[in-house]
Amino acid sequence: MTGKKSGRFRRIASELNPLVWPLGALVVLYDSVQLRWRQPPTPYSWAEIGVPTEQSLAFVMRWIAAAQDASPDGGISAYYSLYGGFGPSYPETTGYLIPTLIDYGTVSQDPQWTERAVRATDWLMHLQFDQGAFPAGFAKSTDGPSVFNTGQIIFGLLGTYRLTGNSAYLQAATRAGHWLVSAQSPDGCWRQHTYEGVPHVYYTMVAWAQAELFQATGDDCFQQSAARNLEWALSHQQPNGWFEGYNLGGRPIYLHFIAYTLQGVLEAGIRIGSDAALQAMQQTAEKLLRMFEIKKRLMGAYSSAGKATIGSACLTGDAQISIVWLRLAELTGDLRFLNASLKMNELIKSGIWYRGPTGLLGGVKGSDPVWGRYLWLRYPCWAAKFTADSFMLELSSLAKCAARLSPCGS
C-alpha cells in the first residue's frame, strides 16, 4: 500500500461516521449506475435538465449555508464527505467564499447572506497572526503562516469592508498584504510559507488579492507585488499555452490549479492593466474552449503538454473555467466563450442533488464520478463557491447580452 493510500484510509478511519457512511455508500452506488446509463454530452444535444440556473444557484447556496451552520465558529466547513459528514472550518476557502455570500445577498435580496458573510469574516479576524499573516490548513494551533491562505482571506476582508464600511476589516487586509509583500522574493515568486515549501505558479491567485488591495488602498506596493508575481508566472508559460511550475509533488495537475492560474492572471492583469497577462491567459482559455467543444467535457487533470492524465472530471475546475470564459466573453465580446460556459454550467448542474439530506442537497462533488481522484468521496465548499459564482455570472452575462441585443439596447 502506498503512503498516499494509507493516508487516505487513516483519514477515513478517523472521520468515519456511522450515521453518514451508509447513505454515502448509496450515493456511490447511484453514481455508478448513473455513470453507466446517463446521457453522454454530445455535439448535437445540449438538452437542459429542466432546472433553471436561478434554482440551481439557490440549491448550491443552501448547501453553503448548511456548511456554515455545521461549523460552531462561524467559518465554513471545508467539505462534506460521504463517510464522515461535514469537515472542520477552512480559513482559506471561507475567505474567498465571503464575496460569494455578499454577491448572493445582492442577487437574492435576503439579508441572511450578508449576515453570514460578516460572521465568517469575524471568525477569520480572530485567526490573524500579529505579523498580518493567516494560518495554513485548518487553523490548528500548530499551523504556521500561509501565503496562499492569506491571499484568499484578503478577498473576504475586502468584501466585508466594502459591505459594512468598517475600517477594521480593511486594516486587517492591509496588514495581510504587507506581510505578503515581505514574504515575496525579489523575482515576484513566493517561496516561503508555501504549500509543501515550494513555489507554485497558481499563486497568481495571491497576486489577484494584492491587485484588489491596491484598488482598495491605492498603495503602490501591492500593485508592484501583483505585477512581479504575474511576470514570474508568465515566464512559466510554454509556447503551447500551458503553464509549468505547479509543483504539486508528483500529484496530477488538477484542472482546479490550472483554473486558479488563469483566474489569477486574468483578474490581476485587469486590475493592474497588463495586456500581456490578458493575452497570455486568453491563449490557454481558447485552447481549453476548443478541447471542451470537441470532447464535450474537460478532464480532471492535464500534463504540462496538455494531455489528460486522469479519467474523471474535476467539477471545481470546470466551474472556475466557466467563470474564466464568462469573464472573457464580457471583456472581449466573443460570445463563443459565453456559449461554452452555458454548456459547462449545464454539465455541472446535472451533478447537483436537488433532493436529499443536508450535506448532499445542493452540493457539488469534487470529482465526477464522486470516487474520482480529486477530493475523493467529498463535496468541497470551494466547488460550491465557484459553481455559485459561475451561475451568478452566467445570469448577469445573459441579461447583459439580451439587453445589448434588444432593439432598445442596440
Binding site: 454530452p41 455535439p43 448535437y44 463563443r336 456559449n339 461554452a340 452555458l342 439580451a402
Partner: protein, 271 residues
C-alpha cells in the same frame, strides 16, 4: 466535366436537390456515392453523435407520422421540398429513385473513405466531387478529383467557420449568407469559389424556416459554382491563414436570442 455526388443518406433532401438541380442545369453527374441509411456503422456513429436517448427520440420522431402545427419545419419540410421538386418537374422521393430517373449509377457504401470506395472513385475519374454530406473526408479521397471536392457552407467564409453559423451571424449582428468552397484538411478553410448574401424574408418565421430556405439557396449556389467551374470562369480565393473563427453548436439560451435577432431583422427589412 465529370461530376460525382457524395451523399449522407438516400433520403437527404439536400443531396436530392443538388442532383436534380445539376441535371436540370445540364451537368448530369457520372455517379453518385451514398452512405447507406441503415447499417451498423452508421447507427454506431449516430449513437455516438446523439447519445442513445436522443437517438431513440430522433428515430421515433422520424418514423411516426408528422403532426401539423406541432412538428418543427424540418419535420414537415417534406411539403416545402415536394413543392420544390414539383417546380423542377420531378416526381421522386429519394436519391435511389432520382438516380434511376436520370440513369445515374448509384453506389451505396458504409464509409466513403473505405479503400474500395476510393478505388471506385479513382476508376470513375471525376473532375469534381460535389459534397452534400457523408462524414469527414480523408486526404486520399480529397486528392482524387482533378479540380477538388466542392462544399456548400451555410455561412459567409472566411468569417464564419464551423457549426450553426447562421445563428452566430445573426447573434453577432452580421450579414448572413452561403459560401461555396473547396474542401481541404481544415474546417471550412478551403479556397472560396463564390459567396452569396441572404436577406431574411417574410417567410423566415423561425431559425428552422430560415435554415431550410438556406439549404435551397446553398443548392443554387453549388450549381452556379459548378457552372462557373465547367466554363473555367470561377475565381478561387484562398482563405487567409488564421482568418475568421471556428464556431461550435449554439446553446439553446443563445439560440433563443438569435431567434429574436431574426425577428427584429425580418421586421426591419419588411418595414
Amino acid at each position: 466535366m465529370r461530376i460525382m455526388i457524395l451523399a449522407s443518406s438516400l433520403y437527404s433532401e439536400r443531396a436530392l436537390a443538388v442532383l436534380v438541380s445539376l441535371c436540370s442545369a445540364g451537368h448530369k453527374p457520372v455517379a453518385c456515392v451514398c452512405v447507406k441509411t441503415i447499417h451498423l456503422q452508421n447507427i454506431r456513429r449516430k449513437l455516438a453523435q446523439y447519445g442513445w436517448r436522443d437517438f431513440l427520440g430522433y428515430a421515433w420522431r422520424r418514423l411516426r407520422p408528422p403532426i401539423a402545427g406541432k412538428d418543427s419545419p424540418s419535420r414537415t419540410a417534406s411539403s416545402l421540398f415536394a413543392d420544390w421538386l414539383k417546380a423542377h418537374g420531378v416526381e421522386v422521393s429519394n436519391l435511389s429513385q432520382a438516380c434511376r430517373h436520370y440513369g445515374i449509377p448509384l453506389r451505396l457504401v458504409s464509409d466513403v473513405n473505405q479503400p474500395a470506395v476510393l478505388e471506385f472513385l479513382r476508376r470513375s475519374n471525376p473532375d469534381l466531387i460535389v459534397y452534400t454530406g457523408g462524414g469527414i473526408l480523408r486526404p486520399p479521397l480529397l486528392a482524387i478529383p482533378r479540380k477538388g471536392v466542392l462544399n456548400g457552407h451555410a455561412g459567409l467564409l472566411p468569417r464564419y467557420r464551423g457549426m450553426n453559423v447562421v445563428e452566430w451571424a445573426l447573434l453577432e449582428g452580421n450579414e448572413i449568407g452561403v459560401t461555396v468552397h473547396f474542401i481541404d484538411s481544415g474546417i471550412d478553410t478551403g479556397a472560396i469559389v463564390l459567396t452569396k448574401a441572404v436577406t431574411p424574408a417574410i417567410q423566415d418565421t423561425s431559425l428552422s424556416a430560415l435554415s431550410q430556405r438556406i439549404v435551397y439557396i446553398t443548392v443554387d449556389a453549388l450549381v452556379e459554382a459548378v457552372r462557373q467551374l465547367a466554363k473555367e470562369e470561377a475565381g478561387e480565393m484562398r482563405q487567409p491563414a488564421g482568418g475568421g473563427k471556428q464556431y461550435f453548436v449554439m446553446h439553446e439560451k443563445l439560440r433563443s436570442l438569435a431567434e429574436q435577432q431574426l425577428t427584429d431583422r425580418r421586421n426591419r427589412y419588411s418595414a
